[in-house]
Amino acid sequence: MSTASPDTLIFATGALAAVSLGLPLLASAWPWQARRIGLLGLPLAILGLLAAVGLFLDAAPGMDAPAVRVGLGGWEAPLGVTLHLDGLALAMLLLNALVALAGSLYARGYIHTAAGERQFWPLWLWLWGGLNLLVLSGDAFNLFITLEIASLSAVALVALTGDTDAVTGAMRYLLINLLGSLSFLLGAALLYGEFGVLDLQLLGELADDGPTVRMAAALMLGGLLMKAAVFPLHVWLATAHASAPAPVSGMLSGMVVAAMFYLILRLWLLIFAPLGTPALAVLLGLLGSAALVWGSLQALRAPRLKIVAAYSTVAQMGYITLAFPILILHPAAWPVVVFFAFAHGLAKAAVLMAAGTVQKAAGHDRMNALGPVLRARGRTVFALGLGGISLMGLPLTGGFLAKYLLLEAGLLAAADTTTIMQVWTALWVVMVALGSLLATAYILRMVAPAFAAGERNPGGHVSAGMEWMPLALAVGAAAMGLAGASLTGLLEHTTVAA
């Protein structure tokens, strides 16, 4: 196939955006067909995505600017809404697709009441579409819009079961989201006020490090950190997870939180990189370390399986927050964030879906009473374990590569900075090591009952999809360990501020 000309790529980007919007609209229009639309549409969308990745990789070397920019409706950059497709975006799209597909196949068996399906599928497709558009959008205001779409659909999905806990959790999550989005919007407004333009790439060129840009950065990063459940602002995650259906918590922990960090990374690479002062590095480092320790301790204490997984997300997000101080000292190591997002996304989705299966089978997910079910369901425990291994960052899993890159970046950063920063960076490296030890502890807590001697009963019936999908995702997380080189290749074609 000859190298694709740029305009076919533009067509592909447009098609991706169209599908991401079209499917949810279609599902909302015919809710009773929503399940079939989802189950047919998603695989097709993913095939298209894979084709787009192929096209992009062929064409990318030839193109001068690493990204494909498409002005919607023919309106060009300063005024119109532009789509921005580059390596980073494609990677996140791929992750979205994988977790969404697995979630959908899992949800097929998980939600089987007609009413449930009519409500679940449209929202599920909106969440997936929203996240896709978030990744594709290239200007600040469009980001706000897609952020809202994704957040509101996520909140709705959390409230799906309709019991008091679910609605309370959803309400709290909604207020968090509104707060975060509004502060993001205020930040965007300040940027627009200062430079009169909203497109990220143009902003990147214009941005200096004046006070308003710093204020905008603080507002936007603050809002996103809250939506990404970073340490002090993480409480909503556990309550949201406690009662959300398994595929939703899989998507929530796996994708929504990772998308927030994608956004922080995108803003960082394009606009806010020069603002990276040592003080910010120390603050983010401390937040990250605190998240690691606090999340792990809470995970060790939590009485229920899904809450252990939720707090494990808080801990793992600590890893990504720890990556930023290292990025400030060693900017070239930014792919670490994507590796972590990818590895954690797959592994955590696997763990949460496995937890869902166990809860469905046992009727509850109280940790101290799950022994018999865990002992009977080898496949689910294997998925739980394999996903856990990736979370621990033990070899030949995605997590291992991410931890390798983070440690490598940390050691490199520690090598050539001032002595104080060396001490701090050394602390971050030690915290990363401590993090994986604590991860071992709480993963062991989840898996150990399966190995203890005792009676076994498989509990209630669980559909085939719910048995095999967590295992497939866990194997995916492990297989990612071998795919490190190709992911790095993809991420090379990303627009980074000059």
Binding site: L401, Y404, L407, A448, F451, A452, A453
Partner: protein
């Protein structure tokens, strides 16, 4: 990188990985198919390793490379040293599988057991065949993950506690190793193992950093090699069923640590640089202390498997001691002990398993007069015990012989003192059970659990006797070409940059 060579390496790895995964999904009651899968896998691996052995002896190169990340590649390579460990583990896997099938007859959760058992062996062979340090650490960690379920197989609270302790030790060591490997990767780039080390070109002011990295690597490997003070997981792990403690805790896992130390000193730093950085001196003292400490603790242990565990703690340090001497004879002694200790110790563990399974004997006290009712197993125990003490013509003697000469060659006579003291201590804790077994009157006569044609289930007895013969032959026929000693001399001739002043007795102290 010739493609078919790489394929052979992958085939060897897959020959235990694929059946392992298949067995996982095998329903529990399909005994016949599981046994068939197990034994055929072990057989195929043995044949493939044999082909590899002949290939390497002819001097062919086998390599397989895969880049995980830019600057980080997953390399499998087969050189003489890796064959030593690979052959040992594949032979012993075949025997231990047979033993395990017999031992676990009628016990629950066997699919899970044999699944993880095959994973362990593929990890061990992976360790043997790994071509660079990062691949070594990857397999090293996979071995941890694969052995944990076997340690907790019985599911009793003590087993889980032992499992927790084991995981705490090994995951921490894995982290330390990973940090050291990354630092090395940054300094010297992703280099394959090269005999004589690949860090010689680094400037001198880096020596301080290299020393720290070296110590970190040794500490990381010391956990699995059960050096002081990182050894206490091994006696606790004896809670595992006998085939696990036999193959894994006496041979595969413990050897992986020792093999790691050998690789670090020889193929990463090179003996000369290691000596300059005084890594060898640190290791020497550590190994010597462990030898004595292990023996003293073994003297106190009353449970047979505890005593064997502490004896393993002490004996594995012989390997570290040998390599740390940096002279050719010392290295030969250390490496050959890697095989001899494996064979002798697995014999002892099989016997302990036999006693426990057939007569329910767990304590040394209960071994009085067991020779009358289980003469063949007791004979194997005697061969193992005398081998451990290092009496000719058993295998232990040969390694003690070369270690002694190596010690004197390195002008470190005190090591000879340590070896002598250790032999005395070994005699002190191995002779009493042997004497009690043959000569003493049995206190309480317990009928064997179930009537069998031989003194115990044939699947338990024949592997034990086979391995006892294996513990005798390398000592008796040490001069042969393909005997462990002959192969180790081939390794030393082919690979080692010998520390000047050390002359080989056959005059071939050649650098690569």
């Amino acid at each position: 990188m010739n493609a078919d060579g790489g394929l052979l390496l992958i085939a060897i790895l897959a020959s235990s990985l694929v059946p392992g995964l298949l067995i996982f999904f095998l329903p529990e009651e399909r005994h016949g198919l599981r046994t068939l899968l197990n034994l055929s896998a072990a057989g195929i691996k043995l044949v493939l390793v044999g082909v590899l052995l002949l290939g390497v002896q002819r001097g062919e190169t086998f390599e397989f490379g895969l880049t995980l990340l830019p600057g980080v590649d997953f390399v499998l390579a087969a050189d003489a040293l890796s064959l030593l460990f690979a052959t040992l583990s594949s032979i012993l896997w075949f025997v231990t599988t047979l033993y395990a099938i017999g031992y676990l007859e009628g016990s629950p959760r066997r699919s899970r057991f044999f699944g993880f058992f095959s994973l362990c062996v593929s990890a061990t062979v992976g360790i043997a065949l790994s071509g660079n340090l990062i691949t070594f650490v990857i397999f090293y960690e996979i071995l941890t993950l694969a052995t944990w379920p076997l340690v907790v197989h019985r599911g009793t609270p003590e087993a889980l506690r032992a499992g927790r302790l084991y995981l705490a030790y090994t995951v921490t060591s894995g982290l330390v190793l990973l940090a050291a490997v990354i630092a090395l990767n940054l300094l010297a780039g992703s280099q394959p193992f090269a005999s004589g080390g690949y860090l010689l070109h680094l400037p001198d002011e880096l020596h301080g950093l290299l020393q720290i990295i070296g110590l970190a690597l040794i500490a990381g490997f010391a956990v699995k090699a059960a050096l002081i003070p990182l050894h206490s997981w091994l006696p606790q792990a004896m809670v595992a069923p006998a085939p696990v403690s036999a193959l894994l805790h006496a041979v595969a896992v413990v050897k992986a640590g020792a093999f790691g130390i050998v690789r670090t000193l020889n193929d990463v730093f090179g003996l000369e640089l290691a000596a300059d950085l005084r890594l060898t001196d640190v290791l020497l003292v550590l190994a010597a202390l462990t030898i004595v400490y292990g023996s003293i603790q073994a003297l106190r242990a009353q449970d047979i498997k505890q005593r064997l565990a502490f004896s393993t703690v002490s004996q594995v340090s012989y390997i570290a001691l040998g390599v740390a001497m940096a002279g050719p004879l010392g290295v030969i002694g250390g490496l050959v002990h890697l095989v001899h200790q494996g064979l002798t110790k697995i014999t002892l563990f099989f016997c302990a398993g036999n006693f426990a399974e057939t007569l329910g004997i767990h304590e040394i006290r209960e071994m009085r007069g067991v020779g009358r009712r289980m003469p063949l197993t007791m004979a194997a125990f005697t061969v193992g015990g005398l081998g451990m003490i290092g009496l000719p013509p058993l295998a232990g003697f040969i390694s003690k012989w070369y270690l002694g000469l190596g010690a004197l060659e390195g002008e470190a006579a005190w090591i000879l003192g340590i070896l002598a003291m250790s032999s005395l201590l070994n005699a002190a804790y191995f002779l009493p059970p042997i004497i009690a077994g043959w000569m003493a009157e049995p206190e309480v006569t317990r009928p064997p659990a179930h009537k069998t044609r031989f003194e115990s289930h044939w699947m338990l007895l024949f592997p034990t006797l086979f391995v006892a013969v294996l513990a005798l032959l390398p000592g008796l026929l040490a001069g042969l070409e393909l005997s462990p000693l002959g192969w180790v001399e081939l390794i030393v001739e082919r690979g080692y940059v010998l520390v000047p002043g050390g002359d080989m007795d056959n005059g071939t102290g050649v650098s690569p």
